[in-house]
Symmetry: D2
Subunit: 349 residues, 4 copies
């Protein structure tokens, strides 16, 4: 019963097989391997973006910080939600890679920025000439860190605000596949057609071992990105083992299938919890992550049974922490009905 994160689960067998297959013989290092050529083609087809440039790194934080550094000058500020991974969970990595640029936090109930709140924050910067930080990119996370999902039109609305100030848009898509699975949008619709300039396209949380693609819809950024990746120590010598994962992930829609499995497991989990009668949710379940509160006794039963999940530091409205704690639960592709149902039964007591 591992619901702590979608990074606690196993690598999908097809991806593991691809790694074994890539180990047959020799290949040139540092990204000029054969599988990388295939990945480039796959990504361009998947996103209907024949000009896009694609680079692989091994961590989601690397994808984010290198993307932002490529889009941002050190005297600028990035507009994002307070709950954004780049603000809360990267130990100042973005500021480090951007050479000391900063983040301006945009009000975001349930971790989703609204166009109005974004406009307000943008208006609040660059009003003091050379003195204040200059306006930089807007960074959107989908699926958000609270498990909510932006629709394509919501992303477009944020991009329109950004574009009206000539600001580029970054999409942190560590769970991009899950967002597509929720919305049924196509990859192109949710990215460049919605105004996204650079995408962090996650693999690790969705069945890979450790690979993320950065998709640059503007190929002019490519060389700078390559230099930043190398300088950041993120260029793999045996790069073909990144390529092999990503190629298998994109093959025959495996990536979307795995995301659908994860979302379905989460839906089953939430339905089950709701059925118990004593569980309240932070918001409707959208993708593969949920926040829900129940009795301390329920948590105790789960703990004794070895269930893994995090207690959320935040709190549900009207909840009494003496009585009730809120769980953050994440499902990955490998979550079984059996495990989900067992978890629910333990909450029910």
């Amino acid at each position: 019963m591992f619901f702590a994160s979608d990074n606690t689960g196993p690598v999908h067998p097809k991806i593991m097989q691809a790694l074994v297959a890539a180990n047959d013989g020799y290949d040139m290092p540092y990204g000029v391997d054969g599988p990388m050529e295939r990945v480039r083609d796959q990504v361009r087809e998947t996103f209907e973006a024949p000009e896009a440039e694609v680079f692989l790194v091994a961590t989601g934080t690397a994808a984010n910080v290198l993307s932002l550094a490529t889009l941002t000058q050190p005297w600028q500020t990035v507009f994002c939600a307070p709950q954004a991974h780049i603000n809360e969970d990267e130990c100042n990595g973005p500021e480090f890679y951007m050479g000391g640029a900063k983040l301006t936090l945009v009000d975001a109930p349930d971790a989703k920025m609204t166009p109005d709140a974004l406009r307000t924050r943008i208006e609040g910067e660059e009003t003091r000439g050379v003195h204040g930080p200059q306006r930089g990119p807007v960074s959107i996370t989908n699926v958000t860190e609270r498990g909510t999902v932006y629709s394509v039109s919501e992303i477009s609305a944020l991009s329109e605000v950004a574009k009206s100030y000539d600001l580029p848009v970054h999409l942190d898509g560590a769970r991009f596949a899950n967002a597509l699975a929720t919305t049924n949008a196509s990859p192109d619709e949710m990215t460049w057609k919605a105004g996204v300039d650079v995408l962090s396209f996650g693999g690790t949380k969705n069945g890979c071992m450790g690979v993320e693609a950065v998709v640059l819809f503007d190929p002019k950024l490519a060389w700078e990105f390559e230099l930043r990746r190398k300088r950041g120590a993120h260029l793999f010598s045996k790069h073909r083992f990144l390529s092999a994962q990503m190629a298998a992930y994109l093959e025959d829609g495996l990536w979307l299938q795995l995301a659908r499995q994860a979302n379905a497991a989460n839906a089953r989990l939430c339905e089950g919890l709701r059925d118990t009668g004593g569980v309240r949710f932070l918001h409707e379940p959208d993708a593969n992550m949920s926040f829900a509160g129940w009795t301390r006794a329920g948590h105790q039963r789960l703990h004794e049974a070895g269930a893994k999940y995090y207690i959320w530091e935040g709190q549900l409205d009207g909840s009494d922490p003496q009585e009730e704690l809120t769980a953050r639960m994440v499902c990955d592709w490998s979550a079984t009905d059996e495990n989900v149902d067992q978890f629910v039964e333990l909450v029910r007591g």
Copy 2:
């Protein structure tokens, strides 16, 4: 009628004379000049801090960013008010000098942080192990950027919160003299006795040409500070001209006398404006800076008469921007009764 800032006014004659006097003959460069020895003694006496180390720089931003960099690791976050100069008016200088550390904004009505709000923000960081930013120093500004003043006990209360988490305290005292003039506190009471570890002690806004002292109450920080100052290109070769200003500024209490003059001018200005009947204030005048709103016609008369001040981007409660605009007015030591009264008369119309 220059009320735009306390940096638009002249250098006080005694300080100018000191510069002329320092020009008589030769002296060794880079901070080993004769006047600097005197400054060190003066600061130690003024603050009753015989162990303190003192360094001079030429801009307030330099004093702040070097102080913060000396207190902060790159993976930490500095707790400060949203209105803080380090957040709004230093073009990411703090983040640059701190190697990519960040700022966590603490709620601060009228630009004054409360101990509770500070505690809440500190509690909100460092809850995610290695993932989130680590807790760093607390930076307090006195006089604040809205012209309000912390009392000694208010500073102590913030320091106590900081110290309960083992966090150091920085005081941005670009207008430190004005804060003392308002509170009648002594320099030691408002600094190390109130828990302040490093002080940016302003001279430029209060009658100097361009000099700020950084006072390190913990002398162990001195060598690192010196290296950071040099690396930041802030070590003056003809340093004696910084020393000479600061020595004259501290001589016979000139610095406090000038601050009292500035505060008195502001009090007269506010009283006069209040008497006109049509003026509302953001808050009670505390030191030498005020925010007040009146009719557009009044602003028009001032504009035509060549008065200099900034229109504040913020807004008074219940004010209609069609009818009324808010002025930010700052008095320095040189403001004359005549100028102040003339300004008031123009508002009155």
Copy 3:
């Protein structure tokens, strides 16, 4: 015939099996996985260093830049050979991670610094007080970038110079196993007993997929290192797949066996080349990398046969580039006698 680098070869089957085995079930992310506990024990035993702290990253550059950043202040300079990977092949990664510290290049014929040359360079810095860069760590590479090997006593001699100035010592051991295989020294003898404070301990070039251990012989550096790793985006979520590689690598001496195979292949290659009569060497073959020159016709035959290796930009003494080009050849554990002999035959013509 892949002799381009020891990063073009396959992952050793035992290591690949360990990855497959690690994929059975769930484990906690970010370095608290089960296999990591085993790795920590293995490293401590291998180095007879029960206090040492161990962290895993995926690239050799990451191991180096994080190690150096932990040892170096931004105003210091690192002493290293001009040929060092950190100087030539990391795209300013060290300077980036060290916050703008610099490298001082020490004369190093055949890429090996001498104690005298090191002392001269150390003496040349920090003679200008706050003006010049301050002295920082000494970084030694073993096996060097020219394929030469420092003996234990040579490393000790460099460390003694460093220690006489209170400077720490970093060892870039991307090919550390090969250096041990050449010298028959034990891991402890070549590291902490010889004055090394931090070791970049390579796995990737010697049969792993992508893993390097940083060994901190001074455990007080551990927490800073962890924060720097996270901030640099080098902390893996599915970290157990790094651990699994390293655990298998260290199991039953596999790491040393693979290095011996690589060194033996290189010895055979060099012997064969020497036997052809027309080949000259940059220096005696030491470990698993060699530089040798022969006729352009020989290179042409190899090229047509699809052999992979780099033409060295440098030049052998007395060599005429019209006639002769110099090859850089690297053998990894997987090089077969057949491939080696075929290569030699093509040179012979």
Copy 4:
């Protein structure tokens, strides 16, 4: 007898008067003062560069590091002489401001790079694709740190090498006026007509209190420079006092007159020393700085008489440090014949 540096001397009376005059009344802060408009015009006329942009800072290091940061990407390397101030005397300031870019040292006997040596170093970088540092600007110092002077044609020859690789050229002109006084070249000839893109134009060492101009011959760099200056904490609030110095300095050719005085004093000093019979020079005196060796007894006499100058860490060919030490002597505009002659007499003994 202050020959320690041209920064130990007094401010020229005309410049001091300009400061006093600038103190009459109010002016707007942060570089929009009246005197700055005049400076801009003066610089454009002086350099026959009507498009050039001009910014003032207070230290030579600030001028250099901001100029280099504006010209250099963090993954690039700057080509300069080993003796360059940016390498030896700015405590890693350039690396800090450039975000971790590095310096590649070009062989430079007597501190003057030759075109061949420059070409060799440029050829040596950027041969390793994304792995090595990328080629960045060439930085030339004139007058050099050894007191030698590049002629216009020598600067042009270096620029031609730079331009053949599309690299920009920076001129560190902390003693630019002295270089013109030596060569009789015009300001335009030695800068943009010789391929210089950005000039650090010194005032402090030549009679100012503390002001340097950065001249951007390509005005497109201006906005980035302004942001970097503010972010580096080098934008003065009471900026008019920088402007006033520079305006007086440029008025009626005062700057060139002062440089001629300094050069003449140095010539007299060297002639006198040569006449004593026992003095040897590092090279022919070129501008206002000389290196010469004489007996320890001579140094002792000077020391007892309170003469100020530095003992050079380097050594003259064939000199025995037991017998003889080398002095570095610098004359500024204020050096009197009397002082010079007294110094010489003390060496003579």
